[in-house]
């Protein structure tokens, strides 16, 4: 097998691989950025809960309309929003800590989703929904992903300053009478949208990985927010390319292949990164550097 066969041929020869690649790259751009904010707000568990929440919604779409992109996406979107609202309600109205209620919600969602799919679908359908299927990324799915990714990045650019301020110092915004909660809500909605866009290619269990792993890897490379957003998008893109190739050559499900690669990049960053990594701790640079 030549290098060309290994690196280029999968994408040159097959349209579905090209579509999956473009979809993952587009997704990586927005997921990298949103994941960084998700981690800064210490909300990675919320990401988990939301991604699992999409499953029963997508399953209902699947029951009603089969493997229809729009029915499943709409179902997933509605279910994601419902769970986000339920999580907020539980943490405000009960005394339970948010991590416990989020974990409960995502277990319920996952179980409900699997039961719903098994009502009508095969084990293969279940695999595809849970772990993604590059073959599912048709032109419509690609448009959905590209649209969601573009829209969410544009909105992120517009609400960047209040979102950063709300993460950093919510009291400051409240004292100014700025409705920080509104930006938080927009942020959650965009997270759900990205997860919905991601589940066709990556699966509902894995879509959240592209939010969390590249962003937490990027945290080991820079203490600047802008740089982190860029590095995290870059790592997400890299994980997509390598993961899809692995998926093609090894016949692995695409979602786990991409996320496993992202996980590898995370471990590398954690070991060799510039800020707070194992290397920085045990082999610190000789000079104190100011930046």
């Amino acid at each position: 097998m030549t290098l060309y066969d290994f690196l280029i041929a999968p994408f040159a020869d097959y349209a579905f691989m090209r579509r999956a690649l473009v979809a993952c790259l587009a997704l990586g751009l927005s997921c990298g950025a949103f994941g960084t904010f998700l981690l800064l707000r210490r909300m990675s568990l919320m990401g988990d809960a939301l991604s699992h929440a999409i499953l029963p919604g997508a399953a209902i779409g699947f029951l009603l309309a089969g493997l229809s992109l729009w029915a499943m996406s709409l179902g997933g979107l509605v279910a994601g929003i419902l769970v986000a609202m339920a999580a907020g309600l539980i943490s405000r109205r009960t005394e339970q800590r948010e991590d416990a209620s989020l974990a409960s919600l995502y277990l319920i969602s996952l179980a409900a989703g699997v039961v719903l799919i098994s009502l009508k679908g095969s084990a293969l359908d279940l695999m595809h929904l849970l772990f993604g299927n590059v073959l599912a990324v048709d032109d419509h799915a690609l448009l959905l992903v590209a649209g969601v990714s573009s829209l969410s990045l544009i909105i992120l650019a517009v609400i960047y300053r209040p979102l950063v301020a709300e993460c950093l110092d919510p009291t400051f915004l409240r004292a100014l009478g700025v409705a920080g909660g509104l930006y938080h809500l927009a942020f959650l909605l965009l997270i759900v949208l990205n997860l919905v866009a991601g589940f066709q290619a990556l699966g509902t269990l894995m879509a959240v990985g592209l939010l969390i792993l590249p962003a937490s890897a990027a945290a080991f490379w820079s203490q600047r927010l802008a740089a982190r957003l860029a590095i995290s998008a870059l790592l997400a893109g890299l994980a997509s390319v390598i993961g899809l190739m692995g998926s093609y050559h090894g016949d692995w499900p695409s979602g786990p292949a991409v996320i496993l690669t992202a996980g590898g990049l995370y471990l590398l960053s954690m070991t060799f990164g510039r800020c707070g990594s194992l290397r920085a701790r045990y082999f610190p640079p000789r000079h104190l550097h100011h930046d």
């Binding site: 517009v158 300053r161 009291t171 400051f172 004292a175 820079s222 600047r224």
Partner: protein, 234 residues
């Protein structure tokens, strides 16, 4: 900008934290709010900042809006590991003029530079906030206050855990605000600071025990009276 309290009561749950307080912080006054733990000092300035509802009574702000108020909480709930530079954090102080969406003008960056120079952290402008010491971080927060150009400045124990140099520098800024006729209300636990640097003092013990000229209102007797009020409970 004067702040008038009309018989205000503020409660957490059913327990009143501030009870039937009336009086006025005059325009351009510089007031220390002192009292034992649980006297309602933080509660009172949070309510003036508009962050807590009053149970009864009214807080009158001379018709000026929420954006004329700058509030520095006791332990700012700022995540110090947040990847943001000192200058970026300081520039949040320009919110009143630039809001959520307007882009920075060169004059905005200049103003931020000046504010950081005024508190002596301009050489850290581009450093991440995680690099700052406790004192430098408080200086940065004061630079942000400077940019806010607020007419009413509310400070909750701003000198806690600070070294004396930082305290002296920050007191000088407060003095300048006072000279510029801004109204400053500052919660303090160090009574010496109050008597040396603050012309007016409010001694709080859920109720206003004494309020006015520091020399008269701040004494052993009033502080004991405040402590007894708290100890007596309700």
């Amino acid at each position: 900008m004067a702040v008038t309290l009309q018989d205000i009561t503020i409660a957490y749950g059913r327990q009143p934290a501030v009870h039937h307080v009336s009086g006025q912080f005059a325009t351009g006054s510089l007031t220390a709010v002192v009292g034992p733990n649980g006297a309602g000092k933080s509660t009172l300035i949070k309510a003036i900042a508009g962050l807590l509802p009053v149970e009864s009574g009214q807080i009158l702000l001379d018709g000026l809006g929420q954006r004329d108020i700058a509030y520095l909480p006791q332990q700012a709930e700022i995540d110090r590991s947040f990847p943001i530079s000192v200058q970026e954090m300081v520039m949040m102080g320009l919110w009143r003029t630039r809001g959520s969406f307007l882009s920075w003008r060169p004059s905005d960056r200049q103003a931020a530079q000046q504010a950081m120079a005024a508190v002596g952290i301009d050489h850290h402008a581009n450093a991440p906030i995680s690099n700052l010491s406790v004192g430098q971080f408080q200086r940065a927060l004061f630079a942000r206050l400077l940019l806010q150009q607020a007419n009413l400045i509310l400070l909750d124990e701003p000198f806690n855990a600070l070294d004396s140099n930082t305290t002296i520098d920050l007191l000088r800024l407060i003095r300048e605000w006072h000279d510029e006729q801004r109204t400053v209300i500052c919660v303090l636990h160090d009574l010496n600071l109050a008597s040396e640097h603050f012309p007016e003092t409010l001694v709080l013990g859920r109720e206003a025990i004494a309020w006015g000229n520091t020399a008269q209102s701040l004494s052993q007797d009033t502080m004991t009276a405040a402590r007894n009020k708290i100890a007596a409970g309700y």
